[in-house]
């Protein structure tokens, strides 16, 4: 076999080329996000000028709607996909920059309250989703993935748990599809419920951070209500994300004890590997802001940079949501996810209303 066809082909993964591949998608994210911003500024003015009754729609919703329209009609062409997938990168950079708007004392005070609520939410969500998974006869590892996804932080938690408990990729994609579909629905239902119940910005923001699973959707759901609610949603969701390692570790130990996953070596190393590092960046920026490292104008500039990063994220939320693809993933996991999410949303709403009364939010 001396022919050239038999020689191995070398496929080089050039970093510069990989970076170039991101550009079209990032430009699309920026274009969709900016179109949302332009529509927010102009549609209301146009409607008012023509004496039409038209609700004031924020750029957040416009960006998501334009993204959804593209994704569910013409689809996102291959050339844009790598760049569109960077929406999570912009989300995390935006969260770190938003740390400058929080003084450390506020983070500790609000984060402490959030931590207590998050602890209750995680225990309640895992117990209920496990019960539902068993009642519907789902595979145990799929039930674990759905429980982690709805209790902690959506897709990231599912991916982290999949590796730790050695679940099938198919189970993982079922769980991710259910969490993403329900996250998309929460963008439209949560603000309506919040307004119907006349929730304060504080209460609504904490509720979004507690009940919406995927970080991007939680931040978007908060921002759809108000700027202040968006800030609180970020803080609460970040607190929830910080606990991902503990929950994944508990599941890894459980499945290892059953002989269905590898034993966990160093628990401290495991926790550090799973810990979302952007939380540390958020805290460090907050420490710098507290130490007056930035002037008031500079904090304003950092907050605006954070808004631009979130703008790309919101466009990405719409662009990566394809309802047809999600609906192909099976009805049972979706049904379990939907029932569980409604129950968790109601449970966390009760928690928030009780906290509102106790803390006077």
């Amino acid at each position: 076999m001396a022919s050239s066809a038999a020689l191995p082909q070398v496929r080089t993964l050039n970093p510069a080329l990989q970076f170039m591949k991101l550009i079209p998608g990032v430009v699309l994210l920026a274009s969709v996000g900016y179109a949302g911003k332009l529509l927010e500024a102009n549609v209301g003015r146009y409607a008012k000028g023509h004496h039409w009754t038209f609700p004031n729609i924020e750029y957040v919703l416009w960006a998501i709607l334009i993204g959804l329209a593209i994704s569910n009609t013409v689809g996102v062409p291959e050339i844009f996909r790598a760049g569109v997938a960077t929406y999570e990168f912009w989300l995390k950079a935006g969260i770190v920059l938003l740390g400058s708007r929080f003084l450390l004392g506020d983070v500790l005070k609000l984060g402490g309250t959030s931590l207590a609520l998050v602890g209750i939410e995680i225990v309640g969500a895992i117990a209920f989703m496990t019960f539902l998974g068993r009642a519907f006869g789902l595979k145990p590892k799929l039930t674990s993935l759905l429980a982690v996804g709805s209790a902690v932080c959506g897709v990231s938690a599912i991916i982290a748990t999949q590796g730790a408990i050695e679940a099938d990729e198919e189970d993982s994609s079922f769980a991710i599809a259910a969490i993403l579909a329900l996250g998309a629905l929460s963008l439209f239902t949560f603000p309506l419920i919040g307004h119907a119940l006349h929730l304060t910005d504080h209460a609504y923001g904490v509720w979004s951070g507690l009940a919406v699973d995927n970080t991007a959707e939680a931040v978007a759901a908060g921002a759809l209500y108000s700027d202040a609610a968006g800030k609180l949603a970020v803080l609460t969701k970040t607190t929830r994300n910080a606990l991902i390692g503990f929950v994944v570790l508990a599941y890894a130990l459980y499945w290892a004890s059953k002989g269905q996953a590898q034993a966990v070596g160093s628990k401290a190393k495991f926790l550090w590997q799973k810990f979302p590092k952007f939380v540390l960046g958020f805290l460090l920026i907050s420490v710098l802001a507290t130490a007056a490292f930035f002037s008031k104008e500079q904090i304003g500039a950092l907050a605006n940079l954070s808004r631009w990063a979130f703008l790309l994220t919101f466009a990405g939320v719409g662009l990566r949501t394809n309802f047809r693809a999600l609906s192909k993933q099976g009805l049972k996991p979706f049904a379990v996810g939907a029932i569980g999410e409604v129950a968790i949303a109601a449970f966390t709403l009760g928690l928030v209303l009780a906290a509102q009364r106790i803390f006077g939010w």
């Binding site: 191995p8 912009w90 770190v96 590092k277 960046g281 920026i285 940079l305 808004r307």
Partner: protein
């Protein structure tokens, strides 16, 4: 992680040592440093 197809092998220039989180934090801190240094004085919204 899928294996390379028979007859092909991938040559990565370097294993990726930074996670998406680390890159996001790095970008945020670079931007914060530029704002602090006065390179970006005003970011419009």
């Amino acid at each position: 992680m899928s294996q390379p197809q028979e007859g092909t092998f991938a040559v990565a220039s370097k294993p990726r040592s930074f996670s998406i989180d680390a890159w996001a934090v790095a970008l945020a801190f670079v931007l914060a440093a530029l704002v602090r240094a006065g390179v970006f004085k005003h970011i419009p919204w």
